[in-house]
């Protein structure tokens, strides 16, 4: 009888033990996949904010275009500045009109004259924002400097906190899964003690005796991780419209299918390894003489 058949037979004969193992692995990998998707999403959101104009300097309406262009060139020459965009009064009006397209009354009230020209500056890293803001505050004709440091700091803080909590919970679940598979495999071994003894007496190698238990652990891992991936994917597809409308123009979804399949591969490989490790740890005790 092949080791794979023996493992399947063992699962069939004690379905509740198998169910417990698969369930705990399902929960572990549900948390794992959710955490990974959250991390990918939060990285994208942070990236969005970090690559958008983060510092906006508003100038008085009478600032000349040539002066603004000079200031733009000065800022652009700084090594930590990635991009500087000049928003003239006319361009500011266009933006305003686009944003208030549904309200003609508001559009009528506003003309280019009353809108201030501005410079929108993005930096390579978020740490350079303060430097840019300080530089802009000393510029001639500057009225106000606005930047999103606080928003990003908050976002970073929450992302880091959630990441730490997520990894801690995942760690606890991984450890629990490992223990449960060890426990179940040990119970299997105890119930097959006689069979194992006979096998060893007639010349079975250590590997031959261990194989069905290792395969069983790996099967639990593969099944648990596959089911949780399927559930996470379905939930994600179902929630896509709501998530997308919440994040507005930040393009988070849909997650490309190839990325989801890569997640499946990583998840199943990790779960199979976890099952193998648990099986190995419980069977190793058999051969300590």
């Amino acid at each position: 009888m092949s080791a794979f058949k023996q493992a399947l037979r063992s699962i069939r004969r004690s379905p509740y033990q198998a169910l417990a193992a698969i369930l705990v692995l399902f929960l572990t990998f549900f948390i794992g996949y959710s955490l990974l998707l959250f991390l990918l999403g939060s990285a994208k959101v942070l990236q969005y904010f970090e690559t958008r104009p983060q510092v906006t300097g508003f100038f008085s309406q009478d600032t000349k275009l040539e002066d603004l262009q000079k200031l733009q060139a000065t800022l652009q020459a700084e090594p930590y500045v990635q991009n500087v965009e000049l928003i003239t009064q006319q361009k500011a009006l266009e933006i305003y009109q686009t944003q208030t397209a549904n309200d003609p009354m508001l559009q009528e009230l506003v003309t280019a004259d009353i809108l201030p020209p501005s410079l929108e500056v993005s930096t390579a890293t978020i740490d350079d924002l303060a430097k840019v803001a300080e530089t802009m505050k000393t510029m001639e004709g500057i009225d106000e400097v606005v930047y999103q440091q606080d928003v990003i700091d908050n976002l970073r803080y929450w992302t880091t906190t959630l990441r730490q909590i997520g990894f801690s919970v995942l760690g606890v679940f991984l450890f629990t899964s490992l223990l449960i598979i060890i426990l179940i495999t040990s119970m299997r071994i105890a119930s097959k003690r006689y069979e194992i003894k006979v096998m060893r007496l007639v010349g079975a190698t250590q590997w031959y005796v261990m194989r069905p238990f290792l395969i069983e652990g790996m099967l639990y891992g593969a099944i648990g991780a596959s089911i949780s991936w399927g559930v996470v994917y379905v939930v994600l597809l179902y929630a896509t419209p709501a998530i997308q409308s919440f994040f507005g123009e930040i393009q988070l979804l849909p997650v490309p299918p190839e990325m989801m399949f890569a997640l499946l591969g990583v998840g199943v490989a990790s779960a199979v390894f976890l099952g193998f490790l648990a099986g190995l740890m419980s069977t190793r005790r058999l051969f300590r003489v």
Binding site: L201, G203, T205
Partner: protein, 258 residues
């Protein structure tokens, strides 16, 4: 082929299993290991398959000194020695075929070869149509045959039968011993641990008598055990008499026993 050199086995609790045991068994030889229960016959078998290590002395199978075997090599050594255990040691939730096939599976033999070899060996032990039955469905004699089939399936160099007739009726015992004799005639070295003088008389061979862990008598290849001698003597005497006298003697013997 099998050589014990001044072997002593003292168990952790201080019990002496074997003491200063030395003997050699030649290839293809049939040897009885006799002695009362607890004399050390099973300890001898356990030492031979390296289930336990001797406290002193050396054991050789062919040129291989068993003390030199690493734990990785022990399974391969055990495949060279077929063992028929006193309590059969058949796996209850596997069929007789699967039990017999176990050692071949363990050895990595192909499925086609397993089918052929197990069928052959079941035929040899007289269980050609019992392969799909489970141990619980077999009688004592059949279980013993199944255990022999499993021990034989790899064509081992040495076959050790530990009390193969201990739980069987005399007729079945003779059948089992006949089978072991046949196996020996095919060239396998056969060691039979027994304290059944009946089968020793029927199939005379060299014997090693163990008492309290020591070999107290090694008969040599041609000599029979005293019990066997006595039983054979009686048979010889009765065969010289006319048939009617033989029947009368048998009846008298029966009556005396009652």
């Amino acid at each position: 082929m099998v050589r014990f050199v001044e072997v002593t086995k003292v168990f952790p609790n201080g019990y002496i299993g074997l003491e200063d045991v030395s003997f050699t068994v030649e290839p293809g030889e049939l040897v009885y290991i006799t002695g009362e229960s607890g004399a050390g016959k099973t300890t001898l078998m356990r030492l031979l398959i390296r289930e336990i290590r001797p406290t002193q002395g050396d054991i050789y199978l062919g040129e291989q000194r068993l003390a030199d075997l690493t734990s990785r090599h022990i399974p391969y050594h055990r495949r060279r020695v077929g063992v028929i255990f006193q309590d059969y040691q058949l796996i209850p939730d596997r069929t007789i075929f699967e039990n017999a096939a176990l050692i071949l599976e363990v050895s990595g033999v192909s499925n086609a070869q397993i089918k052929q070899r197990v069928a052959d060996v079941l035929e040899l032990v007289g269980l050609p149509d019992k392969g799909q039955l489970f141990p619980v469905q077999l009688s004592g004699g059949e279980l013993q045959r199944a255990a022999i089939a499993r021990a034989l399936v790899t064509a081992p160099e040495v076959l050790f039968a530990d009390e193969p007739t201990g739980n069987l009726d005399p007729e079945t015992s003779i059948g089992i011993m006949g089978l072991l004799k046949k196996i020996q005639e095919f060239g396998t070295t056969v060691l039979v641990a027994t304290h059944d003088p009946g089968i020793m008389a029927r199939y005379p061979a060299r014997y090693l008598h163990i008492q309290q862990g020591r070999i107290v008598d090694d008969s040599g290849a041609s000599k029979k055990s005293p019990a066997a001698e006595k039983e054979n003597q009686e048979e010889d005497n009765s065969s010289d008499q006319p048939e009617s006298e033989q029947q009368a003697a048998k009846a008298k013997k029966k009556k005396d026993k009652k």
